[in-house]
């Protein structure tokens, strides 16, 4: 049995609950169609003379195609057309080229070599699905097997087989490095100060999205040289743009229809079926359906990729985590798809919802000879959250602390500085911990019960510390055997405390008319979490009691001495040893007194050399 309660008493002064439609359990617009069987998914559009497509796929992890003979298949009953790699007008793409991230690295149909078991090398269109399957079985391919690599750490070693020629170092280029770096403070100095260092390795398994509807598309000639494509895509314009690029045709000749999808969970972004279906319709002049069967969905369709995480925490005896170092490997499989983005997205998420004064991470997007990975519910986050929260349990055990108390102690609060150098706001982790504990009859200390996300920050927690930087792992160095470790190393230079660029916010409405009137929103639209004046006291249930003061002295870890705050110049080189190592006296956790609000970011301050847009590069 499920029970659901709404804790309207919490954050009540930041919210009005008297909106007309919002907040009401209105019935779904699509539900009548679902229960009457009238909802039309992509495959529920009937076409006269519909043809069916199947693919010839690699049985090997890594192999060169010595010869390919489809002559017999072409003569088989019902076969309308064999599509060869040479039939694809522009047979190389990367999904995120649409936002200019990464280099084209994946063919629609592979013509020289295959880099994973299941990679398509040929497509066959026939009058029935059974005929298409029979023809696929009749294609003769001679393979020269190549050495393969399946483990992410093996793939990064010098001498590992090259999976993807576009990225010969077996990892995505996050120029100028072969990984995404996060550097905040100095983890190595803090480990020296820590009472305990806790280290462990975690692994996320590859997972299938398993929507009940498999991936697919039906394409058919329309008029005026256009093609209609009914699709199960999760991203209509991604699929349309990808199709236009592979087929080297103006997007105006494509009419994509979708929006009603039988489950996706991230598995229907890759846009593999749409280009082939449209190409099939172009070459045959007839409607063509390309829909994966369940086996393809499970083994050829991209999974949530595997991840491996090494976490090392420096923790004080009282439970304060003073340093967290992470090394992450996203297993992209043979091609990039969206995995490059996972590295960036999860880096922005680290070190999880906690305020830790020293954080460093190296995150790699690694190519291996397996099915390319893609997004799935919680993309870039699910795996590392598993690692972090298991690790928090280990840390709690090490210091002999209640696991929830450890979370509340280290939880981020409004105004705290996060490791990616932006202030935390609109936090609610503490309250979630308290409410969950209350529901499960898990007794928390008075102190933990009194904590709030609105309080607990202070000047130290709002500061950007002096930061140890390194230049390890420039693209290509690892393959050449010149990089010893994948973990964040000791820095070679230091970036002054307080160094940051500017924050980014929503672009203002194009015209004033498009701006919703503030009184019709029901909450504050600036980011200051102040009480709403309109709210009457009666609407707000019992305000939180002021928190009892914590044990003195209320001084969290002092940051390294600020040398040049708000510095916009490149960091001066300085030997690591010359800076005094920050010390962590047995001090109390965050004070529960309300501290002044964080200083707003200085507008327009940017470090030189930082791209306004993206860190990735595009060749073409």
């Amino acid at each position: 049995m499920t029970t659901v309660e709404f804790r309207k008493d919490l954050f009540a002064n930041e919210r009005q609950d008297d909106l007309n439609e919002i907040g009401k359990p209105k019935i779904r617009q699509d539900i009548e169609g679902h229960v009457t069987g009238r909802t039309a998914y992509f495959d529920d559009h009937l076409f006269e003379g519909l043809l069916h497509m199947r693919c010839v796929r690699s049985p090997h992890h890594h192999a060169r195609i010595r010869s390919l003979n489809a002559a017999e298949a072409e003569r088989m009953p019902g076969v309308v057309r064999v599509i060869y790699p040479r039939d694809v007008p522009n047979n190389l793409n990367t999904l995120l080229s649409l936002i200019n991230f990464g280099r084209d690295d994946e063919p629609l149909l592979s013509h020289q070599k295959v880099a994973y078991r299941g990679e398509a090398v040929l497509a066959i269109i026939a009058e029935t699905e059974a005929q298409a399957r029979a023809a696929v079985d009749a294609v003769r391919v001679e393979w020269d097997e190549l050495p393969h690599v399946l483990d992410v750490e093996d793939a990064l070693k010098p001498g590992a087989p090259v999976v993807n020629e576009e990225y010969p170092n077996n990892c995505f280029d996050y120029e100028p490095y072969d990984h995404v770096k996060l550097r905040f403070g100095d983890v190595h100095a803090a480990f020296q100060q820590a009472d305990h260092v806790v280290e462990a390795t975690y692994e996320m398994s590859p997972i299938e999205h398993a929507p009940v509807e498999t991936c697919g598309a039906i394409a058919a000639p329309e008029t005026n040289g256009r093609y209609v494509c009914h699709t199960a895509t999760q991203a209509l314009f991604f699929s349309l743009g990808t199709t236009a690029k592979f087929l080297d045709m103006p997007s105006s000749r494509l009419h994509f229809i979708g929006g009603t999808v039988g489950g996706g969970f991230g598995g229907k972004v890759d846009s593999l079926t749409e280009p082939l279906a449209v190409l099939g319709a172009m070459l045959s002049g007839k409607p063509v359906k390309f829909m994966w069967d369940r086996e393809e969905e499970m083994q050829v369709g991209a999974p949530r990729g595997a991840e491996r995480w090494v976490i090392k925490d420096g923790v004080m005896a009282d439970g304060r985590i003073i340093a967290r170092s992470l090394t992450g490997y996203f297993d992209a499989g043979a091609y990039t798809r969206l995995s490059s983005y996972a590295g960036t997205k999860c880096t922005g998420h680290l070190p999880g919802p906690y305020t830790i004064p020293n954080v460093a991470s190296n995150v790699f997007c690694v190519y291996t000879n397996r099915t390319p990975a893609t997004a799935m519910r919680g993309f870039g986050i699910t795996g590392v959250d598993f690692a972090i929260e298991c690790h928090m349990d280990r840390v709690a055990e090490k210091v002999g602390m209640d696991p929830i108390s450890l979370r509340i102690l280290n939880s981020y609060r409004d105004g705290d500085m996060k490791a990616h150098r932006r202030s935390a706001k609109n936090c609610a982790l503490v309250e979630c911990c308290q409410v969950a504990a209350g529901k499960a009859n898990w007794t928390l200390s008075a102190e933990d019960q009194a904590a709030t996300s609105l309080t607990g920050t202070n000047a130290n927690r709002q500061e950007i510390p002096e930061t140890a930087l390194d230049e390890d792992g420039r693209v290509g160095e690892r393959k050449a055997g010149r990089v010893a470790t994948t973990e964040p190393s000791l820095g070679t230079r230091r970036l002054p405390a307080g160094t940051h660029g500017r924050s980014h916010a929503a672009v203002a409405p194009q015209r004033p008319d498009m701006q919703i009137l503030a009184e019709r929103v029901g909450h504050r639209m600036d980011s200051e979490p102040q009480p709403m004046p309109e709210q009457s006291a009666a609407q707000v249930s019992a305000p939180r009691p002021p928190a009892p003061p914590r044990a003195a002295p209320p001084s969290p870890p002092p940051a390294a001495p600020p040398l040049q705050t708000q510095n916009t110049q490149p960091a001066p080189m300085a030997p690591v040893q010359s800076t005094p190592v920050p010390t962590y006296p047995p001090a109390a956790p965050p004070t529960s007194e309300t501290e002044p609000a964080p200083k707003p970011f200085q507008k327009g301050v940017r470090r030189p050399g930082v791209s306004r847009f993206l860190s990735g590069s595009r060749r073409r």
């Binding site: 439609e21 992890h61 995120l96 398994s205 999760q234 706001k425 979630c432 007794t443 909450h523």
Partner: protein, 345 residues
């Protein structure tokens, strides 16, 4: 040989949308001749309720009843650009675009009504039931149907609006990782009670107690759908699901539902949910997307509960009976840990 009870905890936050590289969504709104409204999008409804939540948002922003709004989505000939349904971006990005489009259409509607009622548009309000009234003189009113007819057939005015929402694109500093990844985070914490059979290695999830902070539950039933289904998926990920059971080896990969395991209707877990709402400044009516974050805390909470029950840490997902049994054997038997407060059983 015995069945051991264990209790585990996990807490998480989740980024809503992804700013990097730009992540825009657009919406169009127009009225029919008799004052109903069509919302045209290119967003995808995968079951999460995109059509339904944008309909509700549009009705609220227009100030009309939900029955008078219909969402038509994902025809590239008519729908404006949208990146797609992923990264919990739909509610935040598309919702904001719909608010802007609906706000513009509402402004037109109020001007048309003002002309009919011979007042200033700022003196008017909508009652949410299809009428526009003069402030302080509610009996002076016009229906939205009449307003639309007048606008189209008399005034020559469209009641329509366009909206786009974009957080300006930003990059990542390669040396520090400095970035503006998102503007809004959802939160969750949960406690899971399990039993572990030290003879079979089998884990039963007995009960979940959870708190999810979602900004604002724009439609409480849609949120509930995500939280229940998401927790189910979390249990499934934690205990059963893998396409490569012996990763990094590719052997023994499942090719059908007899081998790709998931919990069935007989394994529904008792789940007690609390929903917290702290509106996000730049989210539509403060709502954050709950769809992705809800599965995440379940995985570590179960792993922590298994440790609590039998004293083995399974750090590689999924937590199969094989892994648990091997770890118990390596440990010389089950070693139940200190019971956490209030544990069931």
């Amino acid at each position: 040989m015995a069945v051991h009870h264990g209790r585990g905890f996990a807490a998480i936050n989740y980024p809503i949308g992804m700013n990097l590289g730009g992540d825009p969504a657009q919406a169009l709104v127009h009225s029919t001749p008799d004052g109903k409204f069509m919302v045209t999008l290119s967003a995808i409804d995968l079951g999460q309720g995109m059509k339904s939540v944008t309909r509700q948002i549009a009705a609220e922003a227009l100030g009309v009843p939900i029955e008078d709004v219909y969402v038509d989505t994902a025809d590239s000939d008519t729908g404006p650009h949208d990146m797609g349904s992923f990264a919990s971006r739909g509610t935040h990005r598309v919702g904001n675009a719909v608010i802007r489009a609906a706000s513009e259409a509402r402004a037109q509607m109020m001007e048309a009504a003002a002309e009919e009622l011979e007042v200033n548009p700022t003196d008017l309000y909508t009652d949410g039931n299809g009428n526009i009234h003069v402030k302080g003189a509610p009996s002076r009113s016009i229906t939205i149907a009449e307003t639309s007819i007048a606008a189209q057939f008399k005034q020559g005015r469209t009641l329509s609006g366009r909206g786009i929402f974009l957080i300006e694109p930003s990059g990542v500093d390669p040396d520090t990782g400095e970035m503006s990844p998102v503007t809004t985070y959802a939160h969750a914490a949960l406690i899971i009670d399990v039993t572990v059979d030290d003879e079979t290695g089998e884990v039963d999830v007995v009960e979940i107690n959870s708190a999810y902070e979602v900004g604002r539950a724009l439609n409480p039933k849609l949120v509930e759908q995500q939280l229940i289904g998401g927790a189910w998926m979390g249990v499934s990920h934690a205990l059963y699901e893998t396409t490569e059971p012996y990763y990094p080896s590719r052997d023994h990969g499942p090719i059908d539902f007899n081998h790709y395991l998931m919990p069935g209707p007989g394994e529904i877990v008792d789940h007690h949910i609390a929903i917290l709402e702290r509106p996000a400044a730049d989210a539509p009516y403060g709502g954050k997307g709950p769809g992705e974050m809800c599965a995440n805390p379940v995985l570590p909470a179960i792993a922590n509960a298994v440790y609590n029950a039998v004293g083995v840490r399974i750090d590689r997902l999924p937590l199969t009976p094989e892994k648990i049994l091997r770890a118990i054997m390596a440990n010389g038997g089950a070693r139940p840990q200190t019971r956490h407060p209030g544990a069931r059983g």
